[in-house]
Structure formats: structure tokens, C-alpha cells
């Protein structure tokens, strides 16, 4: 047993990491699907979309051959509409409430149609939006993830000069660094960022981290307003003995490495345990498998009913051949020569409901042991609490507190996205970015 890279031939890796949501092969396919939509009034799909994309309209526009209009309809509500068409958990959002479900028929493939229009727009570099003349106002947006990009784009359209600060080498945030490569390819992420910023008025400054190269005090002095879309990023620790053994990694870093390196260079164990059952856990488990791990076991402290991922995401792991152990929680990691050897787990049972409304897991006293050589911790991310406290921003456990106007306790400083909500979907962050931009415009009297 060992943690090694280059387990599979290059061609296999390329195939395993290629796009799992293939686009329509032909325009006719999109037309047929678009025409299947009955164009509901006050449509449930739109209601479930956090950015409120007018879905019946954009589908009607595909059906009428007005693809440019369709793309504009999508982007005017969600500037990351292209990326969202690949990463949104649509089975619990728009597609999950499509009225065809009530007829026990296949819902309209909204995401695929959305991808169809937005990809055409990106590939053809359609200029769908024009900036207003410059207002002379300057706004700093910190974090070039979905919230920051959406905020920057919305501000730029209204004639604001935006400087977008990003601590990483590339913009895109979690889209670029935190999602399985087979959902969005690195090339796509770059194209999407380029397309969004091509509207102009957005100066992207990479490798500028808040608290290091830039400070909030400095930004407040130089800019008329600040938007913080810094996300979350620190992996929650397991808090059990043996966590420092070689072979214990956090899912965020694991996925980050996949996104920033060649697949053949990513090392993975023979027997991998993934702790957690959220979307990131699924992405870590499936990618371990696709990198060539022999056994991947996902461990979750509650039962299947309480799992945070959707059934569609769960199926990805299932069909990749991962195993699942429900009602189990890591107790101790045992090693040999400083390397992971065994994972001891508590068997759990479900007690009464907790604050989330789900039944809480309770330790039964029984344990079991798994032979593993790699453990990927995907139990969630923590906000940048220290950074936020150091900047004197009011927060709750590191989550930034804002008022209805998306403003923090510091005048002129606004916030949104994961940094505020603790970690939701890309589409929620986009909506926060839009809302933040609206609040900033109102604050600036524009």
C-alpha cells in the first residue's frame, strides 16, 4: 500500500476527467429539448433559482432561434450562468421542480440548455452588455470568486472602476480551485473569467491577499467602497489523534492540487477513506477513484437520509465504485512509520433532531477499524475568522455579519457569498454579488 501518482495511463486520465455533462451535439437537439418546454407562467424553475433567471424566456428564445437573446437573458440574471450550468445541483433547484416531474416525465434539461446558449455566447465572444460612461467612482472587490466576479461585473456596467483582488494566481475562486475537474475544466474557468471581465472596467490583480499584500484600512482609503467576497477556505480539522500522520489530507487541498497540476502528478492511496458526504466529499472520492485508487470508502456520521449531497451527486460516487459506510465517525488514526495505516471509527446511531432539523448522530460505544493508506477529510470549511477579526469586522464564528443592505459594521464595506453564508452554492454567491453591487451603487448614490 502506498500513496503514489501516475497510476493510470495518460489517455485514461484524460477520459476520466473529461466533462461529465456533455453538451448538445447538434443544434437540433437543443431545439427539440427547448420545444419540449411548455413555458410555464410564474415558473417553479425560476422561483427555485437563487439568481431568478427567467428560464421559460431563455428556453423560448432557443426555440425561436434567438440564441443571443437567450444568452443575454441568462447572463443578465447570472453572469456565471455558463459555469452554473455545469456545477449547479439542478436536481434540487430548477430541474427538481420542473412541472414535468409531476407528470412523472423527464424534467426539461434546463442546465444543458443554459450551457448551450452560454457556451455559444462565450465561444463567439458575443458582447451582450455595454458599460455606462465612467462615474469616476472606484470600488475594491476582494476575492475573484463567484460573488466577487458578479459584484464586479454589475458595478462595472454602471460605470464604476473596479479593482478585483485575488489571492491566488487565477481568478474564479472555488470554480477554479474547488470543484471537480470533470465538472468544470481549468480551461473553461479561465474562459469564463475572461468573458466576464471582457466588459471592461475591471482590473484583476492576482496574488493579492487580504491581510498580506493588501489591508482593509488601505482599501477603504483608496476606494469609495469595498466588497468582501473572500469565501471560506480553511479545512475543518477532524480533531482526533493521528491527524498529523502522512497520508491525511484535507479535501480542499486535494482538489486544489488536482486543479493546479497535471493529473498524472497527483498522488493517491490504494485504499482511501473520505470523511464527509457533502459535494466536496463526493468530488474528492470520485476523483481519487478516477486517479486510480483501488478502494474508496466514504464515511458519514449520519444515515443516507440525512446526507447533504443530492442523489445525483451521490450517484456519481456510486457509479464510480466508491463504498459507503453510514453512521460512522472517525475516532482515531493509527500509523506505522509516520504513515497512515488504520482508521478507527465510532459506530453511531441517530438521536433527536439537532439545530439543522436533522437527527443528530450519537456515539454507540462500538467501534470498527478500516485498513487505509490515505484519509481525505471533507468535513467542511471554516471561515477566515482570524483575518476577519483582525479587520474588526463583526462576525459570528467567522461568518461576516451584514445588514439587509449587505453592509458590514464598517461603513462602505459590504460582503457576500460564502464569507457570509458559510458555504453555499456558486449560484447563491452570484446572487450575493449582485445584491452587494446594488447596495454599493445605492451607497454611492448612483
Amino acid at each position: 500500500m502506498a500513496i503514489v501518482n501516475n497510476r493510470l495511463p495518460k489517455e485514461d486520465l484524460e477520459a476520466l476527467f473529461s466533462d461529465i455533462h456533455p453538451p448538445f451535439e447538434h443544434d437540433e437537439g437543443a431545439a427539440i429539448e427547448a420545444n419540449r418546454c411548455i413555458n410555464c407562467f410564474d415558473a417553479p424553475c425560476t422561483k427555485l433559482c437563487p439568481t431568478k433567471i427567467d428560464i421559460p424566456l431563455f428556453i423560448k428564445q432557443i426555440s425561436s432561434g434567438n440564441i443571443k437573446g437567450s444568452a443575454r437573458t441568462i447572463f443578465s440574471s447570472n453572469i456565471m450562468g455558463a459555469g452554473c450550468s455545469k456545477v449547479c445541483p439542478v436536481e434540487k433547484l430548477c430541474e427538481g421542480v420542473c412541472v414535468y416531474n409531476l407528470l412523472k416525465e423527464e424534467p426539461i434539461h434546463i442546465a444543458k440548455l443554459q450551457r448551450y446558449s452560454t457556451e455559444k455566447a462565450m465561444n463567439n465572444k458575443w458582447r451582450l452588455f455595454e458599460r455606462k460612461a465612467s462615474t469616476g467612482k472606484k470600488v475594491a472587490v476582494v476575492g475573484a470568486g463567484p460573488a466577487g466576479l458578479a459584484c464586479a461585473h454589475a458595478l462595472s456596467l454602471q460605470g464604476i472602476e473596479v479593482t478585483l483582488f485575488e489571492k491566488e494566481e487565477k481568478a474564479g475562486g472555488l470554480m477554479t480551485y474547488g470543484i471537480a475537474a470533470y465538472k468544470v475544466t481549468p480551461e473553461f474557468c479561465k474562459e469564463e473569467v475572461d468573458y466576464i471581465t471582457s466588459v471592461g472596467g475591471i482590473d484583476v490583480q492576482v496574488k493579492k491577499e487580504l491581510g498580506r499584500e493588501i489591508t482593509l484600512t488601505e482599501l477603504r482609503q483608496k476606494y469609495d467602497a469595498v466588497f468582501l467576497g473572500i469565501g471560506v477556505g480553511i479545512a475543518r480539522s477532524l480533531g482526533i489523534p493521528g491527524e498529523d500522520l502522512e497520508g491525511v489530507v484535507d479535501a480542499i487541498s486535494f482538489i486544489y492540487n488536482i486543479r493546479t497540476s497535471d493529473y498524472s502528478k497527483i498522488a493517491v492511496g490504494d485504499k482511501v477513506a473520505v470523511i464527509g458526504m457533502g459535494m466536496t466529499a463526493i468530488d474528492a472520492a470520485t476523483q481519487s477513484k478516477r486517479l486510480g485508487a483501488a478502494d474508496v470508502t466514504m464515511i458519514y456520521r449520519r444515515s443516507e437520509n440525512e446526507k447533504p449531497c443530492t442523489d445525483a451527486q451521490f450517484d456519481l460516487a456510486r457509479y464510480d465504485g466508491c463504498s459507503f459506510i453510514w453512521l460512522a465517525s472517525p475516532k482515531e488514526i493509527k500509523g506505522e512509520n509516520g504513515k497512515v495505516k488504520k482508521l478507527v471509527c465510532n459506530k453511531m446511531k441517530l438521536g433527536g433532531p439537532d439545530s439543522s432539523g436533522r437527527r443528530a448522530p450519537v456515539i454507540t460505544g462500538e467501534t470498527f477499524t478500516l485498513e487505509v493508506d490515505m484519509i481525505i477529510n471533507a468535513t467542511g470549511q471554516m471561515p477566515f475568522e482570524e483575518l476577519i477579526n483582525n479587520s474588526s469586522i463583526r462576525n459570528r464564528n467567522g461568518k461576516i455579519l451584514i445588514n439587509e443592505a449587505f453592509e458590514t459594521n464598517i461603513p462602505g464595506v459590504f460582503a457576500g457569498g460564502d464569507a457570509v453564508n458559510g458555504g453555499k452554492e456558486v449560484v447563491n454567491a452570484v446572487q450575493d454579488g449582485k445584491n452587494g453591487a446594488k447596495a454599493i451603487l445605492s451607497y454611492l448614490g448612483i
Binding site: N35, I38, C40, F41, D42, P44, K47, S63, L102, L103
Partner: protein, 422 residues
């Protein structure tokens, strides 16, 4: 099993489905394939003075992703040598003696030409002749086709010429490019035509290429009005044949129904409104001769279910059920009812009623599904909600009479009854 055998003007065929005069019937190879597939008869593509066709002849109308709701052509009568056509007709009849062979004719506008053409056609042994007074393009500019069918006097004159020499049944095919087919129909019957067939195609422009700005079909940069046919024209055809069935002077003349017939249901409807048999063209052009199987099978099953032994049992049964508007019962009142169990909350009924009808549906906002209910007091029973509803049987119209007695508009006025106040 019902009996689908048909005798139209004494012309026998194993089923009532003939191929209408057109591209599918313009030569032996097609007609043999049609008969092998099971078609009851053909009306051979119109013979006359040989013409030359253009290339690029058809275009179509698509609707909401469904291809070919309507079809259009600018093809003229047969462009093959007359003698070759006549020879092939003889050969086909020898191979399929049980099928109906009718020849469509369009001679130049003089008595001698018509006489010669009729004689040549009936010399083949064909069972009947159809006079093409309907073609709306190309031949019109030469004073033929629809030009004849639009003028009762000219039509009458030509039918008279034909009847002077005709020894087999004569059907006159009428154009719908008129406000009413009754005057021409009457004139043709008076002149001796044994039967009528309708409708021929409707003059049309199906669309324009928005890149080149050239209407369809594009013939070297220009187009021309074509003849419209296919599913979209069926309602117009049904109306025209009904007007003949309703008129005292034309109601006893057998009618061959044509216009957008694509399914057995369409065919039954034509018969219910007075057609004695049916002619099909566009549907086979789009799907091939094989569609005859379901045309016959579907009609057969329907007849069995309804207890009809032969076609004659239901010819014209729906004609008395079409009346003048002022005969309709004003006391008849229906209101929509939504079956909440079946409703999928699409809101299509609501927005249709709210924007364009009588604001008779209430919306109760829900997440993600709204609830829609009928405001019975406001509902005029227009059927719009039921028509737009995507679920069969979800919206039904419930009878709620305004009064027990039959009351028509004339009587309503005579009694000075009150009109709506809002």
C-alpha cells in the same frame, strides 16, 4: 371487422383512400409502389400540354419545433410526355385491376383540346376523370387551373365540353381560393359533373429566408406564390366541403374530400362532413406510402367501436350539427373546472385567461407551485384554459345552463333580454 370497400361514383376501390393528383402519382414507379403498399386508388397527376417545371419546388412551415405544419409547392402539371403517361396508366391498371384509376386533366382553354384530352384519357380504360380547376400557380397565369375554378361561367363551359365526350364518371376539382365554393360547385353540377373534389391548394407564401430576404422556395433568387397544403389547411377544407353538403343544389353530389388528411381521424372527419371518399397527397410526401396501413386500420377500429359496417353508414352525420350562429342556444353555458389532482401548476391557463380572456382564474402564490382556481361567476366558458392546459382531462367544462329552454339570438333580441353589464 368493418368493410372499408368504397364505391365512389361507381368507381370501386378496396378502401376509400386514393392518392390525390400530385408528385406521388406522376409515374408508374410511384403508383406501383403505392398500390403495393395498399392504396385504394390514384388520381394520376394532371395531364395536359406538356410543361417544364423549375427546380426548387417545395417549402414548408414549421411551428414550435414541429416540422411541416404546412407545406407549399410551385410544381405544375405533369412535365412528362402525354403518351408516356397514358402508356404507363395502361400498364399499372393491368397489374392492379382492383384499384381505382382516375386521371386528372387540364387542357388548353378550347373545346377541341378538351375533347382530345378526354378521349385519350378514357381510351386507357381508366375508371374516371378529374378536371383540375384548382391549381393556384403557374397554370393560372395561362388562364387555366384556379382561374377556371374561380369563375362559375368558365367552369360550366369547360365541364359542358368534357361531358359532350366523357363516357366515364367526371369529378371536378375545386379551388379554395374563392370566398365560397358553392357557386362554382353548382355551375359544374349543372354542366353535368358527376362529382366534386376539394380542396386544391391555397395560394401562399410560407416564409422568407431572413439572411437573403428571398421567400421560399428560392428559385434562383426569386420565388412565386405556391399552393398551401398539409395539416394546416384541414380546417379550411372541412369548412368548404360542409358548405357544399349544406346547400340544396350541391348536397346530393358525391364529394371526394382533400386537404391535409394525415391520419384516420382526419379522414373520419371528412366523411362525417359529407365526403364519400378521400384523397391524400402531402402526408405521403412526408412519410411515404406506408401511412396507408394506419389510415385503414385506425378507421376500421373506430368503425368497429362505433358499430358502422361501411363508410356509407356515417357519411355526413356531422353536417346537421353545424348550423348558423344565430341558431345556437344562448342558454347553454359552461364553466371551467380544474382538477387539482391532475394540475401541474404550469400557470398556462391563468396567464391565458388573465391576459386575453375574462380574468376568471385566481392565483394563490405558492413555493414553488401556485394554486389556480376558476372564478365561476366570471367564467364565460370560452374553452381557452382547457385548450392551453398541457394535461388531458385536467380542465373540463361543466354545463351550468342559464335557463332550461332553448333560446337563440333572434329570440333573445325579440324578448329584449339584458346584455352583459361589464
Amino acid at each position: 371487422m368493418a368493410n372499408l370497400q368504397s364505391s365512389f361514383l361507381g368507381i370501386k376501390s378496396p378502401n376509400p383512400f386514393w392518392l390525390a393528383s400530385g408528385p406521388p402519382t406522376d409515374k408508374k414507379i410511384n403508383v406501383l409502389r403505392a398500390f403495393e403498399a395498399g392504396w385504394g386508388g390514384v388520381v394520376w397527376k394532371t395531364l395536359g400540354t406538356q410543361i417544364k417545371n423549375v427546380s426548387s419546388r417545395y417549402s414548408s412551415l414549421n411551428f414550435n419545433g414541429k416540422k411541416i405544419a404546412g407545406f407549399n409547392n410551385i410544381e405544375l402539371i405533369s412535365d412528362r410526355p402525354l403518351e408516356l403517361n397514358l402508356q404507363e396508366i395502361r400498364e399499372v391498371m393491368k397489374l392492379f385491376p382492383d384499384r381505382a384509376m382516375v386521371i386528372s386533366l387540364m387542357a388548353d382553354n378550347d373545346r377541341k383540346s378538351w375533347h382530345e384530352l378526354v378521349k385519350k384519357a378514357q381510351d386507357t380504360g381508366a375508371h374516371g376523370l378529374e378536371l383540375n380547376f384548382g391549381c393556384p400557380h403557374g397554370m393560372v397565369e395561362r388562364g387555366m387551373g384556379a382561374t377556371v375554378g374561380q369563375d362559375p361561367e368558365i367552369a360550366k363551359m369547360i365541364v359542358e365540353w368534357v361531358m359532350e365526350v366523357a363516357e366515364i364518371p367526371v369529378i371536378t376539382k375545386l379551388t379554395p381560393n374563392v370566398h365560397s365554393v358553392v357557386p362554382v360547385g353548382k355551375a359544374c353540377i349543372e354542366a353535368g359533373s358527376n362529382g366534386l373534389s376539394l380542396i386544391n391548394t391555397i395560394q401562399s407564401v410560407t416564409g422568407i429566408d431572413l439572411d437573403t430576404l428571398i421567400p421560399n422556395p428560392n428559385v434562383g433568387g426569386k420565388s412565386s406564390f405556391g399552393g398551401y397544403c398539409g395539416p394546416a389547411v384541414k380546417p379550411i377544407a372541412l369548412k368548404f366541403i360542409t358548405t357544399l353538403a349544406q346547400d340544396e343544389a350541391t348536397c346530393r353530389t358525391p364529394i371526394s374530400g382533400i386537404g391535409g388528411i394525415a391520419t384516420w381521424k382526419d379522414a373520419v372527419e371528412f366523411i362525417l362532413l359529407g365526403a364519400g371518399n378521400l384523397q391524400v397527397c402531402t402526408a405521403v410526401m412526408l412519410n411515404g406510402f406506408r401511412i396507408i396501413r394506419d389510415l385503414c386500420d385506425g378507421m376500421n377500429n373506430w368503425m368497429d367501436e362505433k358499430g358502422y359496417q361501411t363508410i356509407n353508414d356515417f357519411i355526413g352525420l356531422s353536417v346537421p350539427k353545424l348550423t348558423r350562429w344565430e341558431e345556437l342556444d344562448i342558454n347553454y353555458h359552461i364553466v371551467a373546472q380544474i382538477n387539482q389532482e391532475k394540475c401541474i401548476h404550469c400557470g398556462l391557463c391563468y396567464i391565458a385567461c388573465e391576459d386575453t380572456s375574462h380574468q376568471s382564474i385566481s392565483k394563490e402564490d405558492g413555493y414553488p407551485y401556485n394554486t389556480y382556481n376558476i372564478k365561476e361567476i366570471e367564467c364565460v366558458g370560452c374553452n381557452l384554459c382547457k385548450i392551453v392546459c398541457p394535461v388531458d382531462g385536467c380542465i373540463t367544462m361543466i354545463e351550468q345552463r342559464k335557463g332550461d329552454e332553448y333560446l337563440n339570438w333572434k329570440e333573445f333580441q325579440k324578448r329584449g333580454l339584458p346584455l352583459n353589464d361589464h
